[in-house]
């Protein structure tokens, strides 16, 4: 399968690979996927408590090039967004930006799930209620 140039670029020069201190109260961690399925994403956000803005985002992904690119792109988009705006990131935006073929849409779904999981982790740590999301359709 031929990958789009954007996927190749993110794969070769991934943005924001790394680990934030998950013990910190203002860091939210989302770990989604499963090794059996061939992809696992861990996405982390660091939030400025005063402003509610995401100041840093990091990822590590086990998966194909599209999964790596989806998570790399997600971290780029998260940085500088408010937590509320981050919730609006839709997997189809990722599909569009990276020109993912239909067989790789699940990679973008995983990235969206990772964002939501990270935000919920942050919310729970800070005494906020967990947001219930509808089950993702494409899995």
């Amino acid at each position: 399968m031929a990958y789009s140039e954007k996927v190749i670029d993110h794969y070769q020069n991934p943005k924001n690979v790394g680990t934030l201190d998950k013990a910190k109260k203002n860091v939210g961690t989302g770990l989604v996927g499963a090794p059996e399925c061939g992809d696992v994403m861990r996405l982390q956000i660091e939030v400025d408590d005063a402003t509610g803005m995401i100041t840093d985002a990091k990822f590590k992904t086990f998966g194909c090039g599209s999964a790596i690119a989806s998570s790399s792109l997600a971290t780029e988009w998260l940085k500088g967004k408010s937590v509320d705006d981050a919730l609006k990131i839709d997997n189809m935006d990722i599909v569009e930006e990276l020109n993912l073929p239909p067989v790789k849409i699940h990679c973008s779904v995983l990235a969206e799930d990772a964002i939501k999981a990270a935000i919920n982790d942050y919310r729970v740590k800070n005494g906020l209620e967990e947001i219930k999301f509808e089950e993702s359709v494409v899995h």
Binding site: P35, E36, D39, F62, K104
Partner: protein, 405 residues
């Protein structure tokens, strides 16, 4: 100078040997006749060329030329052998024994047989990819007519104990069919010493052209017959109708002759390169060889690099190195290789595998480049892998509850 890309997917197909092409060319142009045309020189030339090729093919596997049925390839051979025996021996029984690691051309044909009223036993393989001979013998019933076990596996290169299998088959009066696609031309295959009754193989896996193959059908002790699966002019002793692919067959013959001549030297040289590749890659942490290393084709290795996903790994170098992976990360099939899973590998390791198929034209320079490129990519992706980080922190990944996906 190293020329890129490097081809290391010789289990999928091999490049044609230029010496093969040379013998084929005249049969496209001046000697274009139909081998079945009995009344003029064009037909006579074509028939003579086909006869010669039949001898070359037969010689490679120590068969009689009359036992060679030309086909379009091994998939057709697999179909003709299994369906042909099932129909021809219907009065004797309807039970076939095969293994879970067979090629899809065998497994799907067996599924077809089941739909047509046949019964199929699928033997599990051991961790090393070999079948258990005791289990095989225990699976034989009075209604068993055929054992279909491949000579060597296309994904892991494991070589089955065909001689021992045929001894069991003979003892119980059951026919033995083997898919010899990966083995013929690469290691010595002797239908008489091995006790094979039917064997399918293909030209393009042994430096010959695509679209041509053969089915060996034993004529003596016992005399084996198959029901034709294609109706028509009654070519190939009535077992496979259709105008013969004369240039393809000529090339196939030459390819067999070359394999016979070069086998010893090729094997020696290629296995040294394979061993070097394997030894160097196994220096990476958490790398595992899949399948038996003792009973294995000399040019194949299949290695899993834990905590790195195969398709992602391939992407790191597949512009420059042609390889295949046991991982298929598509929404249509999240399932990794069924062969690796049959060995008892966890899905994580199956997703992390690469298959290397070296060949006659593989050079040491190419292997050196490959070792470096793959080692670097594995290390880079592990730095990016959450599983690797957890592993390094001493977290047991099997204790984590992964979200259903």
């Amino acid at each position: 100078m190293l020329k890129l890309p490097i081809y290391l997917d010789n289990n999928a197909t091999t490049p044609m040997d230029p010496r093969v092409l040379e013998t084929m060319t005249p049969f496209f142009l001046e000697h274009f006749g139909n081998a079945a045309s009995r009344n003029h020189p064009f037909g006579w030339e074509a028939e003579e060329a086909v006869d010669y090729a039949r001898e070359q093919v037969a010689k490679l596997i120590n068969a009689d030329p009359k036992e060679i049925i030309f086909t379009s390839g091994a998939t057709e051979g697999d179909n003709l052998a299994i369906k042909g025996v099932f129909e021809m021996y219907a009065s004797k029984g309807n039970h076939i024994i095969t293994a879970t690691t067979e090629h899809k051309a065998v497994l799907d044909t067996c599924k077809h047989i089941e739909k047509s009223g046949g019964e199929v036993t699928y033997l599990q393989v051991k961790k090393d990819g070999l079948i258990d001979l005791k289990e095989l013998e225990a699976a034989i019933k009075p209604t068993t007519i055929l054992i279909a076990i491949m000579y060597a596996n296309n994904e892991i290169g494991t070589v089955m104990p065909i001689k021992e299998i045929s001894t069991i088959a003979r003892k119980h009066g059951v026919l033995l069919f083997t898919d010899g696609t990966q083995a013929v031309g690469k290691i010595p295959v002797d239908v008489n010493k091995d006790g094979i009754d039917l064997m399918a193989f293909s030209a393009h896996k042994m430096y010959g052209p695509k679209g041509v193959g053969a089915l060996y059908v034993r004529r003596k002790n016992p005399r084996v017959k198959v029901t034709a699966q294609m109706d028509g002019g009654g070519h190939e002793r009535g077992m496979r109708s259709g105008t013969l692919n004369v240039p393809g067959i000529v090339g196939f013959g030459k390819a067999c002759e070359l394999c016979m001549l070069d086998m010893e030297e090729d094997t020696k040289r290629i296995s040294i390169l394979r061993d070097k590749l394997e030894t160097e890659l196994m220096k990476l942490e958490e790398a595992y060889i899949n399948g038996s290393t003792e009973h294995r084709l000399p040019h194949v290795t299949n290695i899993s690099f834990k905590h790195v996903e195969g398709e992602g790994l391939l992407m790191g170098f597949n512009k420059n190195i042609a390889l295949s992976s046991g991982s298929a990360c598509t929404s249509a099939s999240l399932e990794p290789s069924y062969v690796l899973k049959a060995l008892g590998l966890g899905d994580d390791l199956a997703h992390s595998s690469l298959r290397f198929g070296l060949g006659r034209f593989t050079t040491e320079e190419q292997i050196d480049y490959t070792i470096k490129a793959i080692s670097e990519t594995v290390l880079k992706l592990r730095e990016m892998s959450p599983l690797w980080e957890m592993y390094k922190e001493g977290i047991d990944l099997s204790t984590i509850e992964w979200a259903a996906h």
